[in-house]
């Protein structure tokens, strides 16, 4: 199952940590919100989980999951919206795991794709080029692709940014549906109200972990204050991390 194990994970850029010494386990089937101020390392953590950023230190284990069992929705997708591809074809790329390089898209796959497009409320958009969609519609398309990826671990980076309330409600319902199917879902979020109402578990991150546990216990004003006070800037003249020294000395 899709359990994510963090062993003293430090992730960052140019030796500067953006996520510092994170330990813990995301249980299989958990629905976890990752919250924290801008620059807290939320996106960095998610990039580490899906494997596009290698940890500077420590390790992340996905419990034997293949990278194809992970669906990732980045915050600012590097999508070339001017590329001439239809909504149908774009969503169909979510079937990569089944089709690979050459696999054909048969009748049942077509039905799946159409069903995915319908479940995000985009019936009738199948033949539209993705360049003609609005921001919210594009986000629905991306959710449809995640739906088709049929992944046991789903990682969403601020999926509801700049999305109107109607679309948010629709897409949030999908997230809860995934949770109901036993998939593990991690989402970086800013809307605390949404986290309180819909996510059972929360990780408050401010470079280092501030608190992690059941949302009701973790999402307190005190913890959020601690997170807010985090210093964002990297210190160019910072020393090598002392925690590691202490540990190597102990060893």
């Amino acid at each position: 199952m899709a359990a994510v194990h963090f062993h003293n994970v430090t992730l960052g850029y140019d030796r500067h940590p953006a996520v510092h010494h994170l330990n813990g386990v995301v249980a299989p089937g958990a629905l976890v919100a990752v919250v924290g101020p801008n620059g807290a390392g939320k996106s960095t953590l998610l990039r580490g989980i899906v494997g596009i950023l290698r940890p500077l230190d420590g390790s992340i284990h996905l419990g034997g999951l293949d990278s194809r069992d992970v669906a990732y929705l980045p915050q600012s997708a590097e999508i070339d919206r001017s590329f001439p591809i239809s909504v149908f074809d774009f969503v169909a790329t979510g079937l990569w795991r089944a089709t690979g390089l050459f696999g054909g898209i048969g009748k049942s796959a077509r039905d799946k794709i159409l069903h995915a497009i319908a479940s995000v409320g985009l019936n009738g958009f199948e033949n539209r080029p993705i360049g003609t969609l609005s921001g919210g519609q594009m986000q629905r398309v991306l959710f449809a692709r995640v739906l088709l990826q049929d992944a046991s671990l789903i990682v969403l980076d601020e999926p509801f940014n700049a999305i109107d309330s109607k679309t948010t409600i629709d897409l949030l319902a999908l997230v809860k549906h995934w949770h109901g199917e036993g998939r593990t879902v991690l989402a970086a979020l800013h809307d605390m109200e949404m986290v309180r109402n819909h996510f059972s578990e929360t990780l408050v991150l401010a470079r280092g972990p501030v608190a992690w546990g059941p949302t009701a216990e973790v999402l307190t004003p005190e913890n959020l204050m601690v997170a807010m006070r985090m210093c964002e800037a990297f210190d160019d003249s910072a020393e090598a991390c002392a925690a590691d020294d202490a540990r190597s000395r102990a060893a």
Binding site: I52, S67, E78, D80
Partner: protein, 289 residues
């Protein structure tokens, strides 16, 4: 009369038939590559690659005279070296592909010129620069057809990852490792088609039969498959009309072909269905929904 002008040259002269066969082969393989170059915003990369190939061809010429195989091999080696090195550097560091390519092709060009000047031979590179499709022999024609076939086969293999990598590279990275190899294979295809074209169009114009048809196609369709088909047809038509023009006038064949393509391009810019100027000036009344 019309028959004499448009079909006569090809029934009468074998070199015209060979030239037509060559230009059709070039269109079939080069135009789809051009479409991807354009969509991946790499149009000028094709141009840079053409420069990178030049010294390789010159070295081949130095070593074994006017032997097309030696020149092709030299061009391929230089082109591959530059394309792959540039691709690797761009992928493993933060440097953007265009900057990485610019450094490598300039280095390649400088190296080629250095080698030539050390040898001190006064070689006639005009043939390499502008080509001569009318002097195509059977052997060369077979090489061109072979390269075109290889191109279409490889393109078929890498088509899916290439498309996904063009639209959403990050997604492809999370589901597959095919993105990197597909990109390198694509660069290799660019090189093969440039070398393929320089025997008939010359190093500097070879890229023209790839990019211009792609530019034309962009003005007539929003669909990738249709764009590729339109580009192939536009390239073949330019090739045919260019040959006729070259036969009837004194314009050299390579420039004639590219000039016809340029005229088609201008017509497309003006009258194209997708974003053409006329269409923008007179869009018609706005719709109900």
């Amino acid at each position: 009369m019309v028959y004499d002008a448009l079909i006569g040259p090809f029934t009468e002269f074998e070199f015209m038939r060979r030239a037509l066969a060559a230009v059709i082969a070039l269109s079939l393989a080069g135009a789809p590559i051009g479409v991807f170059l354009m969509l991946r915003r790499m149009s000028l990369v094709g141009d840079a690659m053409a420069h990178a190939i030049l010294p390789g061809a010159a070295v081949g010429f130095l070593l074994s005279g006017l032997n097309l195989f030696a020149m092709t091999a030299g061009g391929l080696i230089a082109g591959f070296a530059v394309a792959i090195l540039a691709g690797l550097v761009a992928r493993s560091t933060g440097l953007k592909e265009d900057a990485s390519l610019a450094t490598f092709y300039l280095a390649s060009l400088a190296l080629g010129v250095t080698i030539v000047s050390i040898k001190g031979t006064n070689i006639d590179l005009l043939h390499v620069l502008f080509g001569n499709i009318l002097a195509m022999d059977d052997q060369t024609l077979l090489v061109v057809a072979f390269n075109a076939t290889i191109t279409l086969l490889v393109l078929a293999v890498i088509y899916r990852p290439l498309v996904i990598e063009s639209v959403d590279p990050l997604f492809l990275r999370t589901v597959s490792r095919a993105g990197g190899p597909a990109h390198l294979a694509f660069l290799a295809l660019v090189v093969i088609n440039l070398v393929n074209g320089f025997q008939s169009l010359g190093t500097l114009l070879a890229v023209g039969l790839m990019i211009l048809p792609a530019g034309i196609a962009r003005f007539w369709s929003r669909d990738l498959t249709a764009m590729i088909c339109i580009a192939v047809v536009a390239a073949a038509v330019s090739g045919y009309a260019g040959l006729v023009l070259s036969f009837q006038t004194r314009v050299p064949s390579g420039p004639a072909i590219i000039l016809v393509a340029s005229v088609l391009y201008i017509v497309s810019v003006l009258f194209g269905r997708v974003g053409g100027i006329l269409r923008q000036l007179f869009p018609g009344r706005h719709l109900e929904a």
